[in-house]
Point group: C2
Chain length 358, copies 2
């Protein structure tokens, strides 16, 4: 018999009532029934993103929304700054270079958060910076970057001339990212993390400032054309066929997050779960890898990480390993989305058994 | 109480056992369990596409695979021919133009199939044509284009210099498109038609000839990068997180199509369903709109089409209307995928009741 719980930073566990919504008979996407679902989803996504702007839904993984963030708002040759402190920071650089942007990277040692002052210096060094790209949480290292502080610096030093683009794939719905309040210009996420859904949906929102950049963008985009989607989605439709079942599931999970538990309570729960697990980890004499750990996942330094992961899996707890240069050196235990204190006691004790043998 | 059957050309009905697969607990995509599912899906997709090549799966609607067909194989300024006989032919032109290709359109009156000879003439008129784009079935008009004949012309007149790109979104799994046998270079489809799944997946395959073009392509692509996906998918993984639940559903539907009923039997069933419905339609004195009707859907000329559609919906049969200039002039009844002779008798009689009043 196989039985396991996913503690991976995507996909994360999906609640039974969301799974149930996925298995309902299919409905047509150009129907009043779908429009009502989609309007409800749209309103709740605005609350999730803390924005008054449209939140656009794509049928794609989160990487699709990252590409949309580049292709819709910039021009060939634009100078941009990428904060690269892990695998997903690297991805920003790759996407920007694919589209011919001129990238200045702030390289951050894996496990560390960027210093806001380093962003300030990079902005001063490069004159005409059109965008700053970062992760809210760098999922490969478990680090939370200081988004609020960086947003402040960009707004104070660059006014409306520079867009602040935040990959919120393991941040939105996990901890506070106040898009409108802090002045984040482009914020995006994916379905399979805090949103407690299977993978297959991504969401992205753009500030008024970013929408002005959009009018000038000369990069090619068709499937990920935000302007076209915005027009359609305001009418409760999508430009191309949406992933109907996943959107039905999304309505269910947003009801759970936004209406029932409440976003701030979800944030508090994630903090609490992180604290419970980290106490257990430190009690085992292990070190947390992230210097500024995000509330959505805990990264742990372990010499024989792959062996421990395998043992944990045999006991039913599916955790992630390190990527690239961290492979075999860390394990990553996620606790964003559908997790309770009991889950932390369970996974912490599985880790203990695998480390100590009892 | 609401109860209805979708007879729309996407989404189409989803079998209960596929719906059930969608609601199973989520598994991780970098696991042996997922790899086994994905390897099985890959093998069956090759049979579905009638190819020895890789069939790449994306988390996107079919339009994503259409964009991939352009962005991965061509260069800026390439001369291409687009057969445009409806809304989806138009889409090829839009995507090609978005990427800076030089498009020569063969405009075909809506409702008609392209004459192979017109493709031949267009190839002769334009010297250095890199690609010919077409639909296997133009879903907006219900027309089947003569793919086999056009493939023959391209191979005979252009050898390896021109790619034949077929949007098979309402063709693959509906009627015979022998990719390798006929010399189709790029073939693609989507999940929500003959594959009997909800929308959210697209699939694309490329000939050896096309893979050589891929090496030279200078157009930007990241999420829809076929080369990167091919490398990952051969290992049973994907470059970015796949739509795990839909891929589990895909395994189920491919088992039904490829293993259980058999592809040729599915084709024969679609032909039979088309014939049953069309006999009923003509018995009512109505005209089939498509001059060369495809087996996947039946388009019917009706003056008060929107009124009839509404009435049919009230009786539980959800059919599609005309798009753009055909709005209000035709209805489209799809019968690709999970439909039986009994379904045709049902929808045909619903139409009869709405037309004749009894």
């Amino acid at each position: 018999m196989k039985k396991f719980t996913l503690f991976t930073p995507g996909p994360a566990e999906v609640p039974p009532r969301v799974l149930k919504a996925l298995s309902e008979p299919i409905i047509h996407h150009r129907s009043q029934d779908f429009r009502e679902i989609f309007f409800e989803v749209r309103e709740k996504l605005k609350k999730l993103f803390k924005t008054k702007q449209d939140v656009i839904v794509f049928a794609s993984s989160g990487t699709g929304a990252m590409e949309a963030a580049v292709a819709n708002f910039f021009c060939k040759g634009d100078k941009v700054i990428v904060v690269n402190g892990g695998k997903f920071g690297e991805r920003w650089t790759q996407i920007c270079k694919t589209y011919g942007l001129d990238v200045d990277e702030i390289k951050v040692e894996w496990g560390y958060a960027v210093e806001p002052d380093d962003v300030k210096k990079a902005l001063e060094k490069n004159g005409n910076v059109k965008g700053v790209f970062i992760q809210g949480c760098e999922t490969s290292t478990g680090v939370e970057h200081p988004i609020k502080e960086i947003a402040k610096i960009i707004r104070e030093t660059r006014g409306d001339d520079t867009l602040f683009v935040v990959d919120g794939i393991t941040a939105v719905g996990v901890f506070d990212v106040d898009m409108d309040g802090w002045g984040v210009d482009i914020l995006l996420t994916g379905s399979q993390k805090a949103l407690m859904l299977p993978p297959g949906l991504s969401m992205i929102s753009a500030s008024e400032r970013a929408l002005k950049f959009m009018e000038k963008s000369d990069l090619p985009k068709f499937y990920f054309n935000i302007k076209r989607e915005m027009k359609a989605q305001r009418e409760g439709e999508t430009a191309y066929t949406p992933a109907i079942s996943l959107i039905k599931g999304l309505r269910e999970s947003l009801r759970m997050i936004v209406d029932e538990e409440g976003l701030e309570n979800v944030f508090a729960r994630h903090k609490k779960l992180a604290s419970i697990l980290r106490n257990m980890v430190e009690g085992l004499g292990l070190k947390i890898f992230a210097k500024r750990p995000a509330p959505g996942l805990t990264t742990i330094e372990i010499d024989n990480a792959e062996e421990i992961r395998k043992k944990m899996r045999e006991l039913g707890a599916w955790v992630a390993g390190g990527q690239d240069k961290l492979k075999g050196k860390i394990i990553r235990i996620a606790h964003m989305g559908y997790y309770t204190e009991g889950d932390m006691i369970y996974v912490g004790n599985v880790l203990k058994t695998c480390i100590t043998g009892n």
